[in-house]
């Protein structure tokens, strides 16, 4: 019963906070003004590739892509440990 009251309080406070978000996808949200204009304007001259998605994924945010490949490789290692190298 106490858990239900706590959950209800969290839910009501979340509803009050969710009212203050900027409109979804609006161009004057604060997340579109920090680094995104620099990526859009300077991508071709700094990285030389026309594909903006590739240049952000591998050049500007290459460390995150490295983490993704490590996760895929870790999944492969887990399968090697359990199911690999036939006896």
């Amino acid at each position: 019963m106490r858990n239900a009251i706590l959950a209800l309080l969290f839910f009501i406070s979340l509803l009050l906070v969710a009212d203050d978000f900027p409109r979804f996808g609006s161009p004057d949200a604060p997340s579109h003004h920090h680094v995104v204009p620099r990526y859009i304007e300077k991508s071709v001259e700094e990285t030389g590739t026309e594909n903006l998605v590739t240049s952000i994924l591998i050049s500007y945010r290459g460390y995150d892509t490295f983490g993704e490949v490590t996760v895929i490789f870790g999944a492969g290692i887990a399968v090697i440990l359990i199911l690999g190298t036939k006896r």
Binding site: I58, F73, G76, L83, G84
Partner: protein, 136 residues
Amino acid sequence: MSVVIRTVSRVLVPFILLFSLHIITSGASTPGGGFQGGVVFGAGLILLAISFEKGVVRKMITERKNVALMSTGILVYALVGLFGISSGGSFLEYGALPLGSPAHANQLMIELVEIGVGATVAGVMYYLYSTTAGGN
């Protein structure tokens, strides 16, 4: 599997593998890139493996070669990053490498990194198939 499936896959699989290489290497100007091309490569290998008898493809693509393919891709990615440190920049800073202007070095290293990513993803895709349903 039946004669129709074997014949069609014999004809189709080289094209699938070649097209996956095209997806990987032209990921810098068209949609695509490393992950997508790697998955298509793995799917082509799986198509080859399920349309023939159990063990025909397994003799060609042994487990050691598969694990070597998986490991080579991420090793290439890490080495490119470490070359950035040894040339005076930070980790994975392609512009610091002595290959011409920073934009040119970026272009070359993006291609190399994508090939590495594609190799790892293709290796893991085929490995997941061959250990669970690949026949033994």
